[in-house]
Subunit: 223 residues, 2 copies
DNA sequence: AAAAAGAATTACGTATGCATTGTAGCGGAC
DNA sequence: GTCCGCTACAATGCATACGTAATTCTTTTT
């Protein structure tokens, strides 16, 4: 339940639309012209347009002239592409973080998030688990020092979020995935950058395999 | 000398500004408020603003409230970060391309570009060499099938362009760099995706080492 | 009834207006 | 001469206005 600071109307519109898309309130395939979104948000077209441009850059929507903003639906091959990129990029984030030799204090929030995952798993609270999982990766890429890398990874996680939401119920390796995080934390604590790279790569590879299988098994064609 | 289609004013403004930045006509550190840019481009603020938002997403400028658009200067560590990302991402582009088992016909333009590099090298025409080098990588990421990956790599190459321009004269391994491209093409032709990944990774790693050394040797602190 | 032609609507791209708010320049105090 | 405060200016964020072009709806024709 994020709250929406109204520093500027475009920032506000951006966050709200992004959140609506992430949480499937604006589902893939949803389409609306600028004036409608403006009305819906209670602001004029100008800030809406600017927010939409940013969302398009994030890959969350497509601006189709005369047809408004379209919430992009991911095909299975889109998901594959996404994972290909993520599997290349996120390990590098792990490297950067490990190289920074993070102190236990710096990693504390991550351990806390890991605990949350574990608890959610025991309680079989899937959405809590996903929230923690998301937060974990979010924190990793934020803590790591390469801002550009952070800026590139962040939208990828956003794009993936819906996919993870809709496949979540069918995943059978959540325990393993959770353990991956623990392993990663231990590796990070030792500053082993190569280990961090490998662990993160394998983690995402396993996840992609699992998720893509579910997508196929369930015959999901757009998500 | 690219020409500027005027399909829409924001697209036009975007291309022109991007080109101006790439070619150092708007050098790093240059700063101008929206109204000035609007006047300079002979259009109103609205399309300028939208173009600036995109350029900021590309990492080429920073929008600083009340101070206008600032052409970002890259510090040595920025260059390092850039290369870290590029070394993770571009090899993946090579993988995707190799996996597509490109036909000789598909690779023909690349061979042509390679010839251009070779000729430029022999003629010691540095800027022609760089143009060809740039074009080569541009083509690789465009030919490869992952559109998202293309969309992410493209801005990185733009950011790097100025760095390559300013360090070009001091580079001593241009022949080696040129040969790397030839090697890559042969690998691509055989569909060896792992080979493509390795070659591209090493190519960028060598380049980064060379470039960063020059940056240090020359005491370049912002470029 | 399907197709074609025309009219009405609407979305977009761009320009402009306006209030807000930060910044720089200027003058005075110490 | 430097520091502080005040005033004038300027850039921004947003709203609104408007012409153009495309889509949709209507109507007519065959």
């Amino acid at each position: 339940m994020p709250d929406f600071p109204k520093k500027t109307l475009v920032a506000d519109a951006y966050s709200r639309l992004k959140s609506d898309i992430r949480e499937n309130r604006l589902p893939p395939g949803f389409q609306a012209p600028e004036p409608e979104l403006a009305t819906r948000l209670g602001i004029s077209r100008t800030p809406v347009r600017e927010a939409l441009i940013r969302l398009q850059a994030d890959g969350l929507i497509r601006l189709i002239p005369r047809h408004g903003a379209l919430v992009v639906a991911l095909s299975p091959s889109d998901v594959q592409s996404l994972y290909d990129i993520l599997s290349a990029l996120e390990p590098q984030a792990g490297v950067t973080l490990a190289e920074a030799a993070p102190t236990p204090t710096a990693l504390a929030p991550l351990y806390e998030t890991l605990d949350a995952m574990t608890r959610a798993l025991e309680a079989k609270d899937l959405s809590a688990w996903l929230a923690a999982d998301d937060s974990f990766h979010q924190q990793v890429i934020a803590l790591q020092g390469n801002d550009r890398l952070h800026g590139m990874l962040d939208p990828l996680l956003d794009q993936l979020h819906r996919v993870l939401m809709t496949t979540l119920a069918h995943r059978e390796q959540l325990a393993r995935a959770t353990e991956d995080h623990r392993t990663l934390l231990h590796i990070l604590a030792t500053g082993d950058s190569n280990g961090a790279r490998r662990e993160l790569r394998q983690h995402r590879r396993r996840e992609s395999r699992e998720v893509l299988e579910i997508i196929e098994a369930q015959g999901l064609t757009a998500l």
